[in-house]
């Protein structure tokens, strides 16, 4: 504050040998701090270590490559899958299914969740029901879905929808309920109508949390995609994994799983990027 004021006790002279900087707190302190470089170093270590262990294990020859091929052969397989087989098509159809099922789910879950979060009667009407259905395992619906939709694209999308929709509704409703009461009441005392409060306060205030909900449910959409492709499909990454198992092509199984992981990670990062772009006010450093 007072930059011009002399420091307290300006006649204070440091000890001759006291040039030692104060000790930096340990990074292992509870809720301690990491510099950016340290963070990325640990993150890289966490990613590289399993690969290194995997490479060592397979190079040691202890494990039959039929059960666990090395990273080299898996990446080679991914390469030939890309060049000679139809990796792009398999990935494309899987991504399409995830996005379609996810978008359909979001299209219904967002307005319904908003209404449940905003209005008590809607909450009483729909939330217990949604909670009930949520506990029914989506996988158990597969026979029913196949009966209704066959093994068309709509079947896969329906399974992803069943797996994500009910969770998404409840999470969005909770996001809306967590809007601070003072924000709502301030709008009321400024003369906002009910409709304005929903549009200009509840929705705007809950948006960042809703985007996080979408990011999390996107992960579940991938899980249900693979489930759907394992049982009711003849294309896609899940199907490729299943087919590889029949022919004991373990490298393809590994490659497919890793690829799904990478795509999931990329989508997650895309959501995080979108969050920083759309809600800059949540990312200021104080």
């Amino acid at each position: 504050m007072s930059a011009t004021a002399p420091p307290m006790g300006s006649n204070f002279t440091p000890h001759a040998g006291a040039a030692k900087p104060p000790p930096t707190p340990s990074i292992w302190a509870i809720a301690g701090r990491l510099s950016r470089t340290q963070y990325w170093a640990f993150a890289a270590l966490g990613l590289i270590l399993p690969f290194a262990v995997w490479a060592l294990l397979s190079a040691s020859g202890w494990i039959d490559p039929v059960f666990m091929p090395g990273p080299g052969s898996v990446f080679a397989r991914l390469g030939t899958w890309l060049m000679e087989d139809d990796l792009i098509a398999d990935t494309g159809i899987s991504v399409y299914r995830v996005l379609a099922g996810f978008a359909l789910s979001a299209a219904f879950a967002l307005p319904i969740g908003l209404l449940i979060g905003a209005f008590r009667p809607v909450e009483a009407l729909l939330e217990p029901l949604t909670d009930f259905i949520r506990y029914m395992p989506a996988v158990a619906f597969i026979p029913l879905v196949m009966l209704w939709f066959g093994i068309e694209e709509s079947a896969k999308i329906a399974i992803i929808f069943i797996g994500t929709f009910f969770q998404m509704v409840l999470m969005v409703a909770e996001n809306v309920r967590l809007v601070p009461t003072a924000q709502i009441e301030a709008a009321q005392t400024m003369g906002a109508t009910r409709d304005e409060i929903v549009r200009l306060v509840l929705l705007q205030s809950a948006k960042p949390a809703i985007l996080d909900t979408l990011r999390i449910t996107m992960g579940w959409a991938w899980t249900y995609l693979v489930v759907a492709e394992l049982v009711a499909s003849n294309s896609g990454l899940g199907y490729a994994i299943l087919k590889a198992q029949r022919f004991l092509k373990t490298d393809t199984i590994f490659g497919g799983i890793i690829l799904i992981g990478v795509i999931g990670l990329l989508m997650d990062q895309a959501f995080r990027w979108l969050h920083r772009r759309a809600f800059p006010y949540m990312h200021f450093k104080r």
Partner: protein
């Protein structure tokens, strides 16, 4: 917007034999509010103070229309209060600013609502911008117009909340412990600021606090409430010059009123510390 001027100067807001029982309260629970009579004059600065549970915040929220009373009546500007409205803007303790809007957009929020509803001319919009600028200068935050609330200190955030509430020129400004979360130094600055705003804007202010110093320093009248059931104990006119200065807190009139009010609060809260008893207990402890 000027309504027909009444012949007799009537109070800005009037509360008559008001009572409130919370629905679902256990049988035998004292009323949250009972037999409240209070009349608030135009351009008055009135403070409500009392032990926790005395219903001061509930009374304010009823005035705002955010809670419903169960008996009696509340009249503001000649009309019975039946729900929240723009003529009774409220400033909350915290978390009421919109973090996704800049300081300027927050202040203009009530204007945004009107723009949605009415066909405003460009001169209306210009006038609103001028008003927002003036308020921003009044609270001394012109430099941070484009900042977001999360970038401001707690005191600055409350200034913005005050400006936002004033934007629609409310008949009554209701303040619910608005400085309760601020540190002592910031509070004092805010006290002088709100008094300045009261002079400039000529707003009627109803201010709830648990801080007796704050209640006396700000109020022209201090309403002392007591709990179980929530009711008005007495209403004290503050014997201080209209233009308050911090050093008045050390003068006799201030200290005497403060002592009087504090005594009642201690008694009514049932929390008065019996120092003799404490002394005896600690002596016994030593002898054990």
């Amino acid at each position: 917007m000027q309504s027909i001027a009444p012949q007799v100067p009537s109070p800005k807001a009037e509360i008559r034999r008001l009572g409130k029982v919370f629905s679902g309260a256990a049988a035998g629970t004292p009323a949250a509010l009972q037999d409240i009579d209070l009349s608030i004059e135009d351009n008055e600065f009135i403070t409500l103070v009392g032990a926790s549970g005395c219903g001061k915040s509930t009374l304010l929220r009823i005035l705002a229309g955010l809670e419903h009373h169960t008996s009696g009546e509340v009249i503001c500007n000649g009309r019975p209060v039946s729900g929240p409205g723009a003529e009774r803007a409220m400033v909350f303790q915290h978390y009421s600013l919109y973090p996704w809007l800049t300081v300027m957009e927050n202040i203009k929020f009530s204007r945004t609502l009107q723009v949605n509803r009415e066909n405003l001319t460009s001169s209306d919009v210009e006038a609103a911008s001028g008003r927002a600028e003036a308020l921003l200068n009044l609270i001394g935050l012109a430099k941070v117009a484009k900042s977001y609330p999360s970038q401001l200190s707690g005191g600055m955030q409350q200034r913005v909340a005050i400006a936002r509430a004033l934007m629609g020129r409310p008949q009554v400004l209701l303040m619910d412990e608005p400085f309760g979360a601020l540190d002592a130094q910031t509070r004092e600055v805010m006290h002088d600021l709100i008094l300045h705003i009261h002079r400039i804007e000529k707003t009627t202010i109803v201010f709830v606090t648990h801080d007796v110093d704050e209640a006396i320093y700000l109020g022209q009248r201090v309403v002392l409430m007591e709990p179980r059931p929530g009711r008005i104990h007495s209403i004290y006119p503050v014997p201080l010059p209209a233009r308050r200065q911090q050093d008045m807190k050390h003068g006799a009139p201030f200290r005497e009123l403060k002592a009087e009010i504090l005594k009642h609060i201690r008694e009514s809260s049932g929390m008065a510390t019996d120092l003799d008893l404490l002394e005896r207990i600690s002596q016994q402890g030593q002898s054990l």
